[in-house]
Structures are given as C-alpha cells and as structure tokens.
C-alpha cells in the first residue's frame, strides 16, 4: 500500500493498493483506518462480514467500483478512504448473490450518523456513475484525487 494523500481536516484519505482479492483489499484498507484511529478494532471484521452478507460491488461501467462500509457503531470519526487498486479484483454485485464484477476503485466509508453524510453520499454515488471521473482517479495523481474528494464536501 502506498499513501497518495490524507486530509486530516476534511477526513479523507487515498491509497494505492496492491491486493490479491477483494477481501485482501478490504482488510488492508480497514486495517489502515483502524491504525489511524478513524474506526474501532471491530471495524475490519464488520466490513468483511458485511461484504459477505451484503456485497457492495457497483456495476457502473468499464471501471467497476465498490463501496464497502459497516454499521456506525464500529466508527470513531467519519472518513472516506479511496483505494485505487494496482490490479482489479472481483466483487459480488450489490443485491446479487453470485454476479461478479471487476473492481478497480474502492470507496471505504466510515459513517457515524446518516444525517451528516446525506449530501456526501449522494455526491459519492454521482462520482461512481461518472466513468470519466473514475478514470481520472486511476491516474493516482495527487492533485486530481484531492480535487475529486474535496468536491464531496462542497
């Protein structure tokens, strides 16, 4: 894993992730959020358990996205963690039991109160639906990523 950026004030981070599988990617990013104190020790297990019960892959086009998250009780401080994968890994499609998609971008969400994140979540989903923006994130360019993540908080 390599840090691309971390904005302590706005609470977003971006990492380049070399993962063997979807669960490997989830463990790496969840471990990072735990280490940095954004989430509790229980978060990582909760993310994995949730992904198995309610998968989070979004088939938004050529560049697939996943938005793993867990219940608010596992969160200390809200954060959005972007993981740009070196190589895509497969995720199960949300609302499906077996359909898989290839995912290159992860947005791991640490959510505390839904009321605080309404606009952020809607903006995040708009980003997930925009292949051009997703493609720009794949560049791992710090300035580009900073601009896109900042736009979530406007």
């Amino acid at each position: 894993m390599r840090e691309i950026l971390e904005d302590n004030e706005k609470k977003f981070l971006a990492y380049s992730v070399d993962a063997r599988s979807n669960y490997d990617a989830l463990e790496q990013l969840a471990g990072l959020l735990t280490e940095k104190g954004y989430v509790k020790d229980t978060f990582s297990a909760a993310i994995l358990k949730r992904e198995k019960a309610y998968p989070t892959g979004l088939p938004t086009g050529e560049i697939g996205v996943a938005i793993p998250h867990a219940d608010p009780e596992h969160v200390n401080r809200p954060a959005v963690c972007l993981g740009v994968l070196e190589e895509p890994v497969n995720f199960i499609v949300m609302g499906s039991e077996t359909d898989e998609i290839s995912v290159s971008i992860l947005f791991m969400l640490a959510i505390k109160h839904k009321e605080d994140h309404m606009t952020l979540l809607t903006k995040l989903i708009d980003i997930c639906q925009n292949q051009e923006t997703l493609n720009s994130l794949l560049s791992k360019d710090e300035e580009t990523i900073q601009r896109v993540l900042e736009s979530l908080y406007d």
């Binding site: 949730r50 867990a70 949300m94 609302g95 994140h117 809607t122």
Partner: protein, 94 residues
C-alpha cells in the same frame, strides 16, 4: 398517503442515497407531501412491510415481504434508472 420503505444492509449508507433520489423524483412528479418514507435495515423489511405500500431495497431481501419489493441498484449505478422510476410511479398510482 403512500408508505414507502427504503432499505439497505446497514440502513445508513445506500438507503440514504436512495431516499434522496426517490424523494426528489417523486416531488418533481407532483407527489410532494403525498408519501412517507421510512429508511431501515434490510433485515427489518419483512417485519415492517406489513404497513407499507412498497419497498425499494439496494440489497436482496431474505424472507417474504408483505408488499412489492423493487430492486434499488439502478439508483446507485444509474443504469436502468428510468425503468425503476417508472415502476415507482406505477406503485404510486395504485
């Protein structure tokens, strides 16, 4: 007054997005004030479905809901969104 359930795994993330998108679509179609949305966890859907007119879920519902259940994935991917909106508007007319 139509009662709409909107659910996702945790009841806080994707159902929040679904709630916003559906509310704004219904308002634009002249339904402002004519519906009540309750957001919940997908595990609560079967129990809560008794008093609801229909439900939109971003994940699969296990068990038998007592109201029609629409798949909410298009709200998140944008693919097939118009078809889902048509289905919701159909349910509103019932």
């Amino acid at each position: 007054m139509k009662k709409i359930l909107i659910a996702c795994g945790s009841g806080v993330a994707t159902s929040t997005v679904a709630n916003q998108k559906i509310s704004s679509m219904l308002d634009q179609n002249g339904y402002k004030g004519q519906y009540h949305i309750e957001q919940c966890k997908v595990s609560e859907v079967v129990a809560k479905s008794d008093g609801a007119d229909f439900c939109v879920c971003t994940t699969t519902v296990s068990g038998k809901a007592k109201c029609p259940v629409l798949a909410g994935l298009p709200l998140l991917t944008g693919i097939g969104l118009n078809k889902l909106y048509d289905q919701i508007l159909e349910e509103m007319k019932k």
